[in-house]
Amino acid sequence: MKNNLLRFLLVPTALVGSLSLYALTSKVGPPAPDANNAGLKLPAGFGALVVAETGGRARHLTITPQGNIYVKLNRPDKSGRSVLMLRENSAGKAEVAGGFGSYGGTGIYAKGGYLYASSDQEVFRYKLNEKGEVTNPTQPEKIVTGLINRRQHESKSVVLDNNGNLYVNVGAYSNSCQVKDRQKGSLGQPNCPILDSAGGIWQFRADKLNQTYGDGTRYATGLRNVVGLDWNQQANQLFVMQHGRDQLHDIFPDLYDTKQSAQLPAECLYALKKGDNAGWPYMYYDGQQRKKMMAPEYGGDGKKEATGNFIDPAAAFPAHMAPNALLFYTGTMFPEKYRNGAFIAFHGSWNRAPEPQMGYYVAFQPFKNGKPSGDWEIFADNFAGSPEKVASGRADHKPCGLAQGPDGSLYVSDDKAGTIYRIVYTKK
């Protein structure tokens, strides 16, 4: 009731605001937000609109300098397309103008006149013309092949640096490298063999064909699963968001109660250098104590700190919220405080049950000189539809991908209902 009343009061205000803005900025300037801001809750001065309903499981997305939106679907749609190309038609809305690629997957990234897209085993690239259109939709170059896919943590996210290198996440096909995955009481495999081919970030050349493990470099290890990653231009460095381990209580009920299990471990942002080890599966990060803890599978008891040369996170977030996208904002549409800071799409938790679930929002972590500076905050909320839907985990939408438009708009993809959102700053 209170919500309805609030909405009733807000709608006319938003309408008047956006209409007057539209009048002022006849040609350039952001499009008008939807009257209800696409159902999102945003900081003052921001608005949102639904760009398109793809109806697919829209994982990551990327936008060319010409404004074409490419969306990677987790599985091909009814027409057999797994990469959708959306073109803006009017007032910021877009329609599906084409599609190609018959492989499911998550990663997509445009840079340097090429579009990179991943299946769960491979990375392909397509040539983009001066209009930002793919010229070889049925004959992509296969850049990377033979990456491990054992279903668990299968997605291969991709990003490029400024030196022609491609970074690919290969998630660990395990929760905590137990002898028996997720089995109550099962201990960790000595010298976790998964790390040879997974549980890290691999670096390849962006222009060389048919590379596999032997051609690439294990750039960083000890990362259980990374779905969100981005290159920070200020620090000239790769940053990644790790999905922390699950089920401390289920596996070690004598050491962790259900509340502790819901709050541990933190979801961590890491700034990576070549050769770094983030510690999975031997440790997890306790965000409240701000300590690296020894994993119970490897001798931990909930109190012992980890031993080993493991890097500290650059920032830590609440447990189990599933950070599926990371984007450093380099646009000028948003106010100064957002410049070079990190947006993180939290897909939403499941492993907090029986405690209420959390997430289903886009967070913002301020940065200064290429390092986190100050506390993170929730930026775009209510993808789920209501607080009850957050708590139960039955969200209407789950934010999964982030991209920046040429004008500095922030785009968000949703792999639950397939909605593509665009967040704009409307205050002058």
Binding site: D181, W350, P354
Partner: protein, 146 residues
Amino acid sequence: MKKLLVALAGLMIGSLSAEAQKKPAPKPKTTAAAPAALIAQGKAVYTETCLSCHQADGGGVDGMNPPLIKTSYVLGDKTRLVKVVLNGLQDVDIDGEEYNNAMPSYDFLTDQQIAAVLTYVRSSFGNKATPISAAEVEAIRAANKK
């Protein structure tokens, strides 16, 4: 007590199959398939053992942990269902959907606990299927070991 529960569950199976023969007649309120005590025990096992993945509403998690609602895995062949609990399950599509998480073995649960939790699952979340008895679990477990 244990024996009594098993006997009761057995009775319920008998009465349900008799009812099943009558086909679509609207079901009376007393359809509740199993004795309350068995359901209560099953709910307790579910909460401790299953809920963190399959969730309080039995709806599972998209793409990760399959739902327990209206699926042949839950409503259909009891032997297959009991074996999922005994052996775990992974790399299997459920009703055309991929679920990528791994379910470990829960063979450390007793026959009675497995019977109770599966009876609870088969009669909750909108499901209406017959109970499973500890004796049935015992027989399936014995065959499973061979």
